[in-house]
Symmetry: C2
Subunit: 262 residues, 2 copies
């Protein structure tokens, strides 16, 4: 007995082996996919779904949690459950660290976001000397201590990325690299001024679900994975001069790379 305004949702199939909460999730998912609920639209309330399907509230909530896990919907306490809006995506091109982009006064993030018409912010800046993790130490060739530069990036007020750069201490201590604002062109420009002409970068990419601390820092909705990117910068002598460990909200990014065919 459909009692919902639009009649977009069907009935349950009692003969089906498929669990009731899955059937409900299927119907909601299909309605979303077909655009019957658009981005940002409010789904029927739990109470409405309970009445429409004639099931208990826990069953309805179970359905909704399935969709939440898929990243299709977000719930807002006291308001309702909504089709998750797709945030604007930031495209990272493979030439984003080309030398010509380092000439300007601002960091790559700021320049790029400005160009895209977004309002970029950087906060939570922290600069510390510390003992590197096993992984970072290995990538940097085994320094006993490193300079760590941590910062969070926001786009139009929304946190999208949390990054930490590690540099061997003997290389960075007492230089502008250890300053909150390293100056025009960022730390890569400073590294080159210090005689470490950059040759290439290596990036390693993984995707996984966020740890609770990452959910907090990046204000992630449930059902949103993170992209974990570790970049190592090499100078022309083959020395690893920086490791940058970045955790990105996966729904805010698309990474682009160019590969040689030769």
């Amino acid at each position: 007995m459909p009692v919902l305004p639009s009649g977009v949702l069907g009935a349950l199939d009692p003969t089906s082996d498929r669990a009731v909460f899955r059937q409900i999730a299927d119907q909601l998912r299909e309605a979303i996919d077909k655009g019957k609920f658009a981005e940002g639209d409010k789904l029927p309330s739990e109470t409405e779904l309970v009445e429409h399907y004639g099931v208990s509230r826990m069953t309805v909530r179970n359905s909704l949690s399935v969709l939440q896990g898929e990243g299709l919907v977000v719930s807002e306490h006291g308001k309702g459950v909504f089709v998750r809006p797709r945030p604007p995506v930031r495209r990272l091109a493979s030439d984003r660290f080309a030398r010509r982009h380092r000439e300007q006064g601002k960091s790559a993030f700021i320049v790029e976001a400005d160009a895209a018409g977004s309002h970029p912010t950087v906060d939570s800046l922290e600069i510390k000397e510390e003992r590197p993790s096993q992984d970072v130490a290995t990538r940097l060739g085994g320094p006993r201590r490193v300079l760590a530069r941590r910062r969070r990036y926001l786009l139009d007020g929304r946190p999208v990325e949390f990054a930490t750069s590690y540099l061997p201490l003997d290389l960075a201590r007492g230089t502008p690299i250890a300053e909150p604002n390293p100056g025009p062109g960022g730390i890569y420009a400073r590294l080159e001024e210090l005689g470490h002409r950059l040759d290439h970068f290596e990036e390693e990419i993984r995707a996984r679900m966020p740890a609770p601390s990452e959910v907090k820092t990046l204000q992630l909705a449930s059902g949103v994975p993170v992209i974990h990117l570790v970049r190592t910068a090499f100078d022309t002598e083959g020395r690893a001069v920086e490791v940058c460990d970045t955790v990105m909200a996966a729904d805010a990014y698309v990474l682009a790379y160019q590969l040689p065919a030769t």
Copy 2:
């Protein structure tokens, strides 16, 4: 009152604002992080947790579903809830399509897996002529019809990747590219023989939670995202000659790229 064998789990804090199911999830997560439950270990059963914490079963299940969503544990019906084993990771290097790798008789996937000591398989091979999606059409320069080659890759029996290659029909029809086995070096070698010398590839990477069909095809545990990779191959004349759309189990891959500094 701890009643569990090992005493690895503490008590609830009734004065805390934190929901009970979150406190339980926190304690289990911490125990896992600290190695008190190792990879593949069985967690206490729901009944044991109910008795240990003195809460209802739904509360315990709620805790466990939090950890499942984080990809930390997997449940097996009739057996228990286990710390999710980390599968071996396949590293995709940025030179994986270099011409020198195309000389051998087998596909890149097979060669690489063999070298890593894994047992590779390819199945679900399907070759069809079809009308391209808007996105694929745009990337290929607007062909009306394309040849689609679909296949699934497995490592030691576990599905890890599902890929579809799209090629303009005028280019692929009637050639070995339209055959189930395109021959040594794969379709890239055939493209070059047909006069399309490859110049470079562009790859776009996203991460997201899988759709239900992807969960099925890749037999994904809950809490495992997918990496969505779209690669376009360009010949020396700048023509896009192939688009390969790939969905990978994120816990089975790390992607590596090299970027120029110039």
